[in-house]
């Protein structure tokens, strides 16, 4: 077991002369770029901005919950805090993060293409995101939103006194950014693979984004029309979701969750794709069960559309429908479990090193496991009766979203930072930050499982005094977690300018993206590559400089 870093030492490396960051300076070359790598960085900046906004609201929530009487904020203001936390984090951070940043940057590189299929539409996607974000920011500044990120009617359409319409318009607009990104990825993966890059040689990161794009295409339009209807109802007084006018609030929930459940798979599938890249690299072993993991990604995307009403078990919907949705919810856990087993099997017998990306991957494995298992508890009708709308649910989805998706995001950022910037981040500081994050995360959210089980409802600004201990633990954890986020932001930014030059393939890893210079040139590949090797094949890549015995191609055919 190696504990030293896998980073190659040797004579100092130099950055390539011309790469995508220095072909063209000035604001116009960035704001009018069609280079997928620059667009990825534009997204990095804007997504990080919204992460801070969401983080600010999280801080307000946790500070308010330090005391059982919630006297820091008025009840109305507290409602606005958790609503805006959810809206900014879900629509403006989690959904775009990995696809729009890492996916945009690396999908063309991984398949051997010069760019995505539609580079101008890629830029348009970013501008649409910015416009949508502007509307939502306006809503925040106009007093915010107090309906919960789920916009349940008739509160959002009739009774709320907050700035619902601009926020809904903002999310509607941002949905098109998601749709166009998904469209771009699907067409690119279908039509622009380099010669020899067959479907089953694709990195699993690409498979994950393919599955994610399918979900984006099929789900996002439904939430768009739903929010459109809600906005129409609010502005023109229509009655679809208003019982007083013959409408049905449950219809809104069906329409809303038809997208919003698959949306959580938009958030987790790309992170799973990142983990599928990190684990083979740092176990220096081919991923176990490639075909199963690829199929599981698609299965998650498809089955994920069949389970939405598990968010509605307590609404008075048909019990028979609830039974069916509960059963389907158990089914959707299976492909996720298949993936966890395959990642674990990859570790077995591998030559493991504990570089920062791998630390995030380990964090992901444990925390996603907890989050996923607790999802099964929630999918069980009897249990959900008691824990629905409690902190149990909050803890469940934060384990998946933060413990899963954000760990995947940060792991991916670290893994690919040398390729994106040409420079390496400070390894030991990064490992410490990862540990701080892990500790902070668990201290924040594990007590919330206990709280939820004991009955503390979510979205309440007050709680019984006996729950204070857990809330204080949670807030303390949140401040540690915040430090865990701040550290990478600082040192990654520093490293981008002053880090040690990394070279083409510091880890080394087997993907096509690592065969280009770091940072890559604008056109990615001077000569279109011809692929003759399987994914994660450490044995038949002598150019990686590993002392791994070569094996005949096809030796591990039947994983």
């Amino acid at each position: 077991m190696a504990t030293t870093s896998t980073i190659h030492t040797g004579p100092a490396l130099k950055l390539p002369e011309k790469h995508y960051l220095n072909t063209g300076y000035g604001i116009r070359s960035w704001l009018l770029t069609t280079d997928h790598k620059r667009i990825a960085l534009l997204y990095l900046l804007s997504v990080t901005f919204f992460f801070f906004i969401g983080g600010f609201f999280a801080m307000m929530i946790r500070l308010s919950l330090l005391t059982p009487d919630g006297r820091l904020l008025s009840p109305d203001t507290y409602n606005r805090m958790f609503t805006m936390h959810g809206v900014s984090m879900i629509f403006f951070f989690l959904i775009p993060s990995i696809p729009a940043i890492l996916g945009n940057f690396f999908i063309p590189l991984m398949i051997g293409a010069k760019d995505l299929a539609f580079p101008k539409i890629n830029l348009l996607s970013w501008y649409i995101y910015i416009v949508g974000g502007a509307f939502t920011l306006y809503s925040m500044m106009a007093g915010g939103l107090d309906t919960g990120w789920t916009f349940y009617t008739p509160l959002s359409t009739v009774y709320s006194n907050s700035a619902v319409a601009p926020a809904v318009v903002g999310i509607f607009i941002t949905g098109f950014s998601s749709i166009l990104t998904g469209l771009n990825f699907l067409v690119t993966i279908h039509t622009m693979r380099a010669p020899g890059m067959t479907w089953f040689r694709l990195p699993l990161f690409v498979w994950a984004h393919y599955a994610t794009s399918v979900v984006m295409i099929l789900g996002t339009p439904v939430v768009a029309i739903t929010l459109g209807l809600a906005a129409m109802e609010r502005v023109f007084g229509l009655g679809f979701f208003n019982p007083a006018m013959g409408g049905d609030p449950i219809l809104f929930q069906h329409l809303f969750w038809f997208y919003s459940h698959p949306a959580v798979y938009i958030m987790i599938l790309p992170a799973m794709g990142v983990i599928s890249e990190i684990i083979p690299t740092f176990a220096r072993k081919k991923l176990f069960g490639y075909h199963f993991v690829a199929a599981a990604s698609l299965a998650i995307a498809v089955i994920g559309f069949l389970v939405w009403a598990h968010h509605m078990f307590l609404t008075g919907q048909s019990t028979y429908a609830a039974l069916a949705f509960s059963f389907l919810t158990f089914l959707v856990a299976i492909p996720s479990a298949v993936k966890v087993f395959n990642w674990t099997a990859t570790l077995f017998g591998g030559s493991i090193s504990f570089d920062t990306p791998m630390l995030y991957a380990f964090g992901f494995l444990g925390l996603f496991l907890v989050g996923g298992l607790t999802g099964l508890f929630l999918g069980c009708l009897g249990v959900d009766m008691h824990v629905h709308d409690t902190y149990f649910v909050v803890a469940h989805f934060h384990y998946i979203m933060v413990g899963g998706a954000v760990m995947g995001y940060l792991g991916g950022l670290h893994f690919w930072w040398p390729k994106i910037t040409g420079r390496m981040y400070p390894e030991w500081l990064a490992r410490i930050a990862a540990l701080v994050l892990f500790v902070g995360f668990n201290l924040t959210f594990f007590p919330q499982f206990v709280l939820g089980y004991l009955g503390m409802p979510r979205r309440y600004h007050v709680y019984p005094p006996e729950f204070q201990v857990y809330n204080v633990m949670s807030t303390a954890g949140a401040s540690i977690l915040a430090l865990g986020y701040l550290l990478p932001m600082i040192y990654l930014t520093w490293a981008a300018f002053y880090g040690r030059v990394a070279g083409n393939n510091p880890w080394p890893a087997t993907g096509l993206e690592w065969t280009t210079p770091s940072p890559p040139p604008t056109e990615n590949f001077e000569v279109t590559p011809v692929v003759t090797w399987e994914a994660y094949d450490f044995h038949n890549r002598p150019e990686l400089g590993l002392d791994v015995p070569s094996q005949p191609v096809g030796a591990h055919e039947h994983d």
């Binding site: 539609f118 067409v187 023109f236 007084g237 013959g246 069906h254």
Partner: protein, 253 residues
């Protein structure tokens, strides 16, 4: 501005470029199916709950104008398909002709839609404060046929009996509310459809201009094909809208 027919930088071959454009448009149409799908679901649920009110509302739509519009759009799909054929067979004179015919037929559709909308506005059937299902029978216009008005009055009276509320006044209020749901969906769905037609008309103007410049040939006609795909999709949406909005309960009148 790029010249059409040229290979874009990110592609290796023209075939890859065309393949990508076509697949891209098909995937976009999938998103449109789901987009309208949300409205179709809302329609289905509300019709299931308020079948009678929806029947009354549906009978207030002008069947002749609706059927005419259906024929107009089908014809425009035909002319659109013919324009793709003209481009594929290098018939440079026929291509703009068929495109212009498609555009004009689309214009006819929108014109008839305007007439219909105006009719609804005059009959107080636009959802809002002044929505009143009984406006037309209580304020007949000179051109209205007495037989038609009597049939409508009878239909409204039958529908009132099926409303669960108490006094006749409350029953009328409930019927108005449920019929208003129908008309909200009518305007919402046909309005969204009309918006898509206007976008399609804009696309047609662009393609007509380019076709006059002789840009489209047998080897390069991708824009015509993908505008065609979009236009046919808009036609398909109308085929379903016509069936679901105009043909609900016609046999009872």
């Amino acid at each position: 501005m790029h010249r059409t027919g040229e290979l874009y930088g990110q592609f290796e071959t023209l075939e890859q470029q065309k393949d990508s454009a076509t697949l891209g448009m098909w995937i976009f149409l999938v998103t449109e199916v789901l987009f309208f799908g949300g409205l179709f679901l809302t329609y289905t649920v509300n019709r299931h709950l308020y079948f009678t009110a929806f029947g009354v509302g549906g009978n207030m739509l002008d069947l002749k104008l609706g059927a005419t519009n259906t024929v107009v759009l089908i014809a425009s799909s035909f002319t659109m398909a013919m324009s793709v054929w003209s481009a594929q067979t290098d018939r440079k004179k026929l291509l703009p002709l068929f495109l212009i015919l498609t555009f004009l037929l689309g214009g006819v559709f929108l014109g008839i839609k305007y007439v219909e909308y105006k009719q609804k506005f005059d009959h107080h059937l636009v959802p809002g404060h002044s929505f009143d299902l009984t406006y037309r029978i209580n304020h007949p216009a000179p051109g209205d046929s007495p037989k038609e008005l009597a049939a409508e009055r009878q239909e409204i009276e039958d529908a009132l009996k099926t409303e669960a509320a108490g006094t006749p006044q409350e029953q009328l209020t409930a019927l108005n509310a449920h019929a208003q749901l129908f008309f909200s969906l009518y305007f919402g769905m046909t309005g969204l459809h009309a918006l898509h037609m206007i976008i399609g008309a804009g696309l047609l103007i662009w393609v007509i201009r380019e076709s006059f410049k002789g840009r489209f040939t047998a080897s390069y006609n991708t824009p015509i094909e993908i505008v065609g795909l979009y236009w046919h999709f808009v036609d398909i949406v109308w085929i379903y809208l016509f069936a679901l909005l105009y043909l609900i309960n016609r046999h009872s009148v």
